[in-house]
Symmetry: C2
Subunit: 134 residues, 2 copies
């Protein structure tokens, strides 16, 4: 079976921390799961852009492209700007993508949203701060 492409989309920021977060998370995803070919791209300020990374995926041997936004919650980027770039109608989460001369499925995943893992992450940060500082 071929690999799936995973494009991790970040917001971008003038400060370096958002870019670091996105790129380190992309690296961790690639290490955790080798069924994905992982790239990351940004909506604004930072490079590579989402468009540049979509173009980079066109030459890759992938059978599906999954676009995963590393955003906390829905907002205008999630609901409008990213679907526009992906050629998806607003409210649609599945389309097609042309890679290596074939049409492959394009899937647009949800942002982080409310998830028990997020609560766990916040508790972990709380306990780490207590352990270091209390």
């Amino acid at each position: 079976m071929g690999k799936k492409g995973l494009l991790l989309v970040g917001h971008g920021s003038k400060k370096p921390y958002n870019k670091q977060l996105i790129e380190e998370t992309a690296q961790t995803i690639a290490q955790k799961d080798d069924s994905f070919l992982v790239k990351s791209g940004f909506m604004s300020i930072n490079e590579p852009t989402v468009e540049e990374q979509l173009n980079a995926f066109r030459n890759e041997d992938i059978d599906t492209l999954v676009v995963v936004p590393l955003f906390l919650a829905k907002g205008v980027h999630i609901l409008k700007d990213i679907p526009d770039i992906l050629g998806l109608e607003e409210g649609s989460y599945a389309g097609t993508f042309r890679a290596n001369g074939s049409e492959i499925p394009l899937i647009y995943a949800q942002p982080i949203g409310s998830d028990p893992l997020l609560a766990e992450l916040m508790l972990k940060n709380a306990y780490q701060a207590i352990d270091e500082l209390l």
Copy 2:
């Protein structure tokens, strides 16, 4: 032993999704770990504000207050605005808070940042979208 206060700080948004995310996460944290008394407050647009929730904690029987920002990465809110509200010097993550007539420790935790749990969360969202849409 007394409870610790945990103030989950959100960005706030004109759309309802950020507020939902913060409040649902606060609820999940409270369910997971009853050593914390959990409240949530917002930096802008939504209510209650961070200041209002700090005032609400002044009457609670807590022995420590931990402030946990539900933000992806450091930015101006994390580095300057929240420390200002907490009366912390920039770069300092520990101070004091007056609750119930005593000075108790105030601890300021890190935002989400790069964490294996975050990569796991993004993979979970990727697989969920693939399962539903492919």
